[in-house]
Structures are given as C-alpha cells and as structure tokens.
C-alpha cells in the first residue's frame, strides 16, 4: 500500500506517529500546539499563492493533501456544501483563496506568533490581508471577492465566483477590521463605503439583498437576512472608528431603523432579527445617540432570544451533522458564549452549559460526514463551560474530542481533511475553526496567558 502514500504524507506520518500514537508511545510528547503549528507551517510553505503570473501570497482555501499543492480537479464535496459556495469556478478545480473562509486561520496565525514568539505567522497573515485589500477590490463596486460565493483564483489571478453570478455576500462576520485598517486603511475604507453604496439598494429604507453584484452596481431590495445587517453594521462601525466619516454612521442608522421596524411581526408579536452581537460591538464605537439606540436594540434582541431559549433552546438541532444553513447544537452554543462574554447575561451561560453537558458523552453518529467545524464548536463549548464552572468533566472531554479530531481529520497529513468522508483540504467546513479550538485546548491545559480568540464567528 505504500505506493499510495506521498512523500509529504510519509514525512508527516513520522511526526504524527510520535505525537498521536494512541498506544502510549510518545504520549507525553503529544501537543495540540504542534499539530496547529505544523498546519500553519505547511500552509506557509505549501499553501500560499505562488501560481500564475502574480504570486499574491494569499492562502489557498483548498489543497490536495497528497501533493500539498493546488487541486487539479474539483474534489467531491463534503456533505451539506453547495456547489456554488466552494472556492473555484463552476465545475472547475478549487483554486480560490477566500480570506473569509480562512478567517480563523489568519487569527490562528496571529495567535501563533504570540504563543511562539515567531513573527512569521503574523507577517504571512498581514501580507495576505494587505495584498487582498489592495488588489482584489472590484473597480466598480469596491466590494471584495470573498465570502459565500467568491474568491480569488490564484492560477488565473482574477476574482471568480462559484456560481454563474459574481455576487458579494458575507460568509461570516469579519472580525479583523482593526488589523485591516492598520494594514490597508484606504482599501478598507473603500470596501466599507462600497458595502453601503453597492450592497444597500435603498439608502432611505436600508433595503438590501445579501447578494450584490461584485463587478457592477446593481443592489436590489430582496432577501435582507438580518445576520447580514449585523455584518454590515460591524464593518461600518470600524470604518467610522478609523475614518470618522459620518457616512458610516448614517449607514448604521438606516439599517438599524429598518430592523427596529422589521422586528414587529404582522400578528403583533416581536421577533429577534439582527441579534445583539454586532450591535453591541458597534455601540462601543459610535457616538451618541446612535450608541444608545444600538444598545437598546441589543437589549431587546436579548429579551426576545432568551424567551425563545427558554421555550426550546434549539435542542432539536443535530449534534454533529452540519450543512449549509444548518448548524449543530454546539454552533448555537458559540452564539451563547459570545453574548455571555460580551454582556454577562446568565441565560446564555446556562444554555451553553446545557449544550456542553450534551457533548460530555456524545460522539458523531454513524455514517455522518462530520465537519471539522462541528468538532471545533463542541470543543470550544466544553472549554467555555469549564472556564465558567471549573468542573473537571468538561476539561476532560474537550481534549478527548480534540484528540479524536486530530486523529480523524489530520491523520498522517499536516493538513486536516474537509470532512469524515472526503480526503482533501478545504476550509469551507471549518478546518480553521478546529485549529483555533485546538489552540484553546492547548491554552487551557497549559495555563497559557496568551488570549486565544473566541471561536464564535461561524454564524
């Protein structure tokens, strides 16, 4: 069978056998930090854009784990991943770099530099962000080719879309705006303005669609999913923080007004919309009276969400099987953790602990095509429960799940695979979030003073 193993796998196997052996050999040398660092090192050495005419240095969002190079084909999709969301042109190989899909990997890089004292991780992340912001903006809309549907093709050196239409849509909140404004202030500002000018269709009502054309102006009044409103507000608040351009305050105000109104249902009841997280962040940055309105909005969102939590707490969500628009129970715990750490509301803490309890004795169901992200969220949920309660079972279970994740996703490669049933590397399923969770385990079990970023952005 040896002929099926590549040189990269063979080399990696040596290290893994030392570190991941379940037989006890090398047990004491096992280190989650080593696993993450090797992942990062491999991405730096083998996973950056050195292809096509321009060597952008961007991190590829998919790789062949056997060759540690770009994929020559479009590999089988992990369960629950839609064709048009992957980092490649329709039906073609996955040669895209999508910084939103790699956001937690970038955060891992910054954290690794803090933990290890080696600056190169930070430098690579900085170069990634700076190049992308300075070179990938649409000339017409100033939107970026990232998020749910777009990426940067590292071979063709062009923005590409996974589907037939090149549309800008956030995949996650972007939490690296501080760094982006530091690295590329003008481009960051242009993106934030582009988001207002070309994502929002009506500047009076705030009507928008989460899809906006990337190559030309053409926003429409369509599916204005509230979570996207939160992502925009969080973007604009940082833009205001660094530019003091009042356009951003107006943008926030218009969108906020829209959802203050949309909160009221036709039957007279109220429902949560944007959620409190992004509004809370923005309230810390913008001046009064907008700050107070944002705080009040977040408070009301809490009230509505907690009432729903007390009814069912989304306890019917699957434990392990994630998919497009389908989070696991632990992914919901990530929201609860984020809000508890932000506002200290006990109901969120309690719910996260209930979910942590559910993962104390849970392993993936049979034949589920589990994503790394699902393990990441389960691990981070358990660690949060431990931080709050100091109850040992949580700290016992988190490394067990982390160990299982290393054994099943990394195997004999320095890169994790995209899911239980696929063999390639593709960050859309949350390899980056899992790496972040492993750093959390390392920090918790080694009493590290370095702060590990909250693993709460997969929302």
């Amino acid at each position: 069978m040896s002929k099926h193993r590549t040189a990269a796998q063979a080399a990696a196997l040596v290290l893994l056998r030392i570190t991941v052996s379940a037989s006890g050999v090398g047990e004491s040398s096992f280190s989650f930090l080593d696993v993450v660092r090797r992942y990062a090192d491999t991405m730096i050495e083998r996973g950056r854009d050195i292809y096509g005419p321009e060597k952008s240095g961007l991190l590829l969002s998919a790789l062949d784990r056997r060759t540690l190079g770009p994929l020559a084909v479009r590999p089988a999709a992990p369960a629950g991943i839609r064709r048009e969301d992957r980092p490649g042109r329709p039906w073609a190989a996955l040669n895209g770099a999508n910084p939103q899909l790699d956001q937690n990997l970038l955060r891992v890089f910054y954290t690794l530099s803090e933990i290890t004292g080696d600056p190169r991780y930070r430098e690579v992340a900085d170069e990634d962000l700076a190049w992308f912001l300075n070179n990938a903006l649409s000339p017409a809309t100033n939107l970026l080719p990232w998020g749910e549907h777009m990426s940067w093709d590292v071979i063709l050196d062009k923005p590409i879309a996974g589907g037939d239409l090149a549309v800008h849509e956030f995949a996650r909140p972007w939490v690296l705006w501080d760094r982006c404004f530091s690295l590329a202030p003008e481009a960051s500002k242009r993106f934030a303005l582009g988001l207002w000018q070309h994502q929002i269709a009506d500047h009076d009502t705030g009507a928008f669609d989460r899809h906006a054309p990337y190559f030309e102006h053409g926003p429409v009044d369509g599916k204005d999913f509230p979570r996207h409103a939160g992502f925009y507000i969080a973007t604009w608040c940082y833009a205001y923080k660094y530019t003091k351009d009042e356009t951003f305050l107006r943008a926030i105000e218009v969108i906020l007004t829209r959802f203050e109104r949309k909160r009221f249902q036709k039957d007279g009841t109220s429902a949560a919309t944007i959620g409190p997280l992004d509004c809370h962040i923005a309230a810390e940055v913008v001046p009064e009276p907008l700050a107070s309105r944002l705080r009040a909005f977040a408070e009301k969102e809490d009230e509505l969400i907690i009432a729903e939590l007390e009814k069912d707490g989304r306890r019917s969500a699957p434990m392990w099987q994630a998919g497009y628009s389908q989070g696991t129970r632990a992914s919901y715990a990530m929201f609860c953790i984020a809000r508890y750490e932000q506002a200290g509301k006990r109901a969120y803490r309690d719910e996260a602990i209930v979910i942590a309890d559910a993962y104390l004795n849970s392993l993936p169901e049979e034949d589920v095509d589990v994503w790394p992200m699902s393990f990441a969220h389960a691990i981070s949920t358990l660690l949060a429960a431990y931080r709050w309660t100091k109850s040992e079972p949580y700290l016992g279970q988190a490394p067990k799940l982390a160990r299982m994740a290393v054994e099943t996703f990394w195997q004999d490669s320095p890169l994790p695979r995209a899911s239980f049933k696929t063999g390639h590397y593709e960050t859309i399923t949350g390899a980056d979030s899992l790496a972040l969770a492993l750093l959390e385990v390392h920090a918790a079990t080694h009493g590290l003073s370095v702060a590990i970023p909250s693993n709460t952005i997969d929302r």
Partner: protein, 503 residues
C-alpha cells in the same frame, strides 16, 4: 509583493475615462474567468426513479385476500407482475434462500432483501420532494411489523430463508423449514420504532428470548425457530456477523425503550466474542468449533459494535469501542493481497494467523463468498467512521484492483457486485480526488445500466437471468447509482445512505 494592477492608475484620470477603462477592464479581465468547466451529465438518477416508480406501480402486494403493500422481492420483467413460473436461480444463489417455497413460485416479500430499496425510496422523497416514495416504504414496514411477526417468538419472516407469501398471505420459508436468520444488518430500526414501536420492541425482545439459546453464555445459532421457541441441536453456527446484527438491533431498541434487558443481551453476547478472540493472533473463529477465522464476518461485527456503542451507556459503550479498536488493528494487519491477487484474505488459522485459502474474487459473488468490493465496502464503513488510515489504504488498493477490470464474459455477475464496485470507486474518489476513480465508477455505472436494466424499468437478477429478484442486490446497485449521480453533480443537500450493509 504584487505590483499594482494597471487599472488602479486610471483613478487619477478623469472620471469618464476612468469609467471607460474600468468597463473595458471589467469585461476583458474580470468577467471572462467566471466561466467554469462544462456541467457534467448524469443519466443515472432517472434509472433509479424509473425502477422505484415501477415498483410502486407494479411491484407491491395487490394479491390474495390481504393487499399488504409489501414489495415483492421477485417479479417478471416482461409483464411487470409476479412471476408465473420459478426461474432458475442466478449463479451462487441457493434455492432455499429464494422468496418462495422450493420448487414453487417466487411470490415472497422479504424486506431484508429489499432493504436498500426502502432506503432508496426515503432518499428519492428527499430528492424529489414527493412523499409517495416515503409513504410506500413506511406503509410496507408498518404492515410487516404489525402483522407478520410470529405470535410465539415475535421473530419476523424475513432474512436469509423466510418471506411473506403475498398470494397466500402467510409466512413462508424457501427451504421449507421456518427458521429466522438475518440476511443483512437492519439499518431501518429508527424508522421502524417511529412507525411501529411495539412491534419493533417485541422483535428485539424476541431476538433475545428466541434466537439466543443460553442467556448466560449467549450461545446461539444463526437459525432459530420462527413459529415456536426451539433450540438448535448443535449451537455451533454462532457467526460473528450475526452477533453484530443482534447487537445493533438491541442497541437501537435500547435507545428507544430503555429496557435493561437489551443492555444485558448486548453485554452477554459481547462477552462471548471478547472471550472468543485469540489472545495472540486476535482472530475469532468463524463459529464455535471451527479453527479458522473469517475476518470479513468479524469486521462486520465490529461495524455493528461501533454503531451500538453510540446508543448504549457506559461502561458497555467503552467495551464495545475497545472490541472495535482491537478488530481494526487485527483486520488492517492481515496479509491481504490487493495488489497482486486483487483480494482480501478470506480465512486464517485462528491459532497461527496463517492464511488458509484463497482471496476474495473481484466479480463472482455467491452464497458464502464475499467479493473484494464487498469487503472493501466494510473497510469504507470503518474508515468513514474512524478515519483510520489502515482502512483508507485498503480501500484505495481495492479500488485500484477494479480500475481496469470488467467481469469475464462467462461470469454470471450480480448487480450487488457492480453496486459495491461503484461505491468503492466513489469512496476512493472522495478520499483522493483522483478523477480516475470517478471515471471508473461512471463506466461501471454505464455498464451496469446497460447490462442489468437493458431498457426495462427493472434490473435483472444477474447477467444470465431475465427476471427481477432482489436477493442478488438490485437494490444495492440502484443505491450505488444514486450515490454516483450525487457525486457527479456534487449534490450534497441530500445524502445517499452508505452502501455498506451487504455483509
């Protein structure tokens, strides 16, 4: 790193010039690359829909006094109705295992033979949004669980030897002896407990009370009396794979009922097999009294123990996992020879671990014979539930063995074998992203479609048969074609059930 792109200079120019330049740039540089590759075509799903539609329309029990809605497990492909004569069996099929009392007509409905067809029907409802398929599967299962169980043993007339005679409306046995024996693991227990909890519970208990002969040692025979409690004369045929089928049944039943009896059943039966494992070779005899081991049977047991561990509490769960871990070690280290002989080792001396006989064949399935792809699909199951690279390497090596292989002209191949080979190639494709495996799966799918369906809505039972009879795995082939279709078109919103139950 990169130089600024040329268009950036235009921002200093007049706005009109800038717009022109940007438009030109956009159309030339930015728009063109969004085009992707050609959309691949897949003819395979329509084959499966046609099969399912034909079964819903023509293949259900509308005969005899009771119109049960059960799916007939054999049909005439010309008339799309029950067979008017008993056709010769496909190669490797024993008369006593067919769905009709030998030498009579094949008028039986055997849900275990049709298990993958039922799973297909659930999948088609998800894919199409049409409830008809799901309702047909639900209807058949509900009727069977509610009406077909033995009043004395609560065992069901299905599996290796028994079925429900749709004309006479009674349980029958192909061999004339009414014995309960599983043919496959039953993966639909969750659905069964939703549809008919009491019938499902009674079966699980009946399996303990009437299949197991000794409640202390868990001695059993894979044959048990259906009509009345009867102890086998020999109690030698306690095959590991059957133990797995029982353990899976009891574990799911426990999850639904919390009956401690079921935990005890698992505990006792697991201990039996823990004790049977040779301390040095790690091998378990094929059954009591035999000095050789059949690793495929033990691997099957491991798959079911792994599933059961997810349903039961500690410390039983950990014991089940430990059993599985040991089996993984043992199986992956056996002297399989996929590269030269194209097969897995089929039997070894339990004491010495030396291989005794031949290796699994690529194409010719038969009663008691595993093909290479069949065993490889067990490895797929273990790999995809554990990530253990030993299994990965075996899966890829087995997939390699089929890359340039088609059955010999004279072989009377079963649809099941094509189904396994297709699913195996797809597993290798998912793992390696090497297109050669996907191409192979596609070629096998095309061959299977041409050679088994031949333009008919129903596939034939083998390459030398003309009738439809699911004992040879028409359902497994159809499931593989769904999986192939989903892989070709990268569809993931609906998941194809794992094609790993023929073991």
């Amino acid at each position: 790193m990169k130089k600024s792109l040329p268009y950036r200079k235009s921002f200093a120019a007049s706005s009109s010039l800038r717009r022109i330049m940007e438009a030109a740039f956009t159309s030339i540089f930015f728009l063109a690359p969004c085009r992707g590759a050609e959309v691949p075509s897949s003819p395979f799903l329509s084959v499966v829909y046609r099969y399912a539609d034909a079964m819903l329309q023509h293949g259900r029990d509308t005969y005899g006094p009771q119109k049960t809605g059960l799916f007939l497990s054999a049909l005439d492909r010309t008339s799309l109705a029950r067979l008017a004569r008993r056709p010769p069996p496909p190669t490797g099929v024993r008369e006593g295992d067919r769905v009709g009392v030998s030498p009579g007509l094949l008028v039986g409905a055997n849900p275990q033979h049709d298990e993958n067809l039922l799973r297909i029907l659930y999948t088609l409802s998800e894919l199409s949004g049409k409830p008809d398929y799901r309702e047909a599967a639900d209807g058949g299962l509900t009727w069977f669980l509610r009406n077909a169980a033995s009043p004395a043993t609560h065992l069901l007339p299905w599996g290796e030897h028994m079925s429900w005679d749709v004309v006479l409306d009674k349980p029958i046995s192909g061999s004339g002896q009414a014995v309960h024996e599983f043919a496959r693991p039953w993966m639909l227990w969750d659905r069964c407990f939703e549809l008919e909890p009491e019938g499902s519970r009674l079966f699980a208990l009946g399996l303990w009370e009437h299949q197991i002969a000794d409640y202390k040692t868990a001695a059993f025979d894979r044959h048990a009396g259906f009509w009345k409690h009867s102890r086998s004369e020999t109690l030698l045929m306690d095959f590991p794979r059957h133990a797995g089928f029982y353990i899976r049944t009891w574990a799911v039943a426990y999850a639904h009922t919390r009956s401690e009896t079921l935990l005890k059943a698992i505990d006792v039966l697991l201990r039996r097999f823990e004790n049977k494992r040779h301390p040095e070779t790690g091998l378990i005899g094929e059954c009591s009294g035999r000095t050789y081991a059949s690793p495929a049977s033990t691997l099957s047991l491991a798959i079911d123990c792994n599933a059961a561990a997810l349903q039961v509490p500690e410390p039983l769960a950990s014991r089940l996992r430990a059993f599985v871990a040991r089996e993984d070690e043992v199986f992956c280290q056996l002297p399989h020879d996929l590269e030269d002989k194209g097969g897995f080792v089929t039997a070894l001396d339990k004491q010495t671990g030396k291989p005794l006989s031949s290796y699994t064949p690529l194409w010719q399935a038969a009663y008691g014979i595993y093909t290479t792809a069949q065993v490889a699909m067990m490895c797929v199951s273990r790999y995809e539930n554990s990530g253990k690279i030993g299994y990965r390497d075996l899966v890829i090596a087995a997939a390699e063995a089929y890359l340039n292989s088609m059955p010999p002209e004279e072989a009377d191949c079963w649809p099941m074998t094509f189904g396994h080979a297709i699913s195996l190639e797809l597993a290798a494709w998912r793992e390696t992203a090497r297109p050669v495996y996907l191409h192979c799966a596609r070629e096998l799918g095309t061959q299977a479609f041409d050679r088994f369906w031949q333009g008919n809505p129903l596939p034939r039972a083998s390459l030398k048969s003309e009738h439809y009879e699911t004992i040879t795995g028409a359902d497994t082939l159809a499931l593989a074609l769904i999986e192939l279709h989903l892989n070709i078109l990268h569809i993931t919103a609906v998941r194809s059930p794992s094609n790993t139950i023929d073991r």
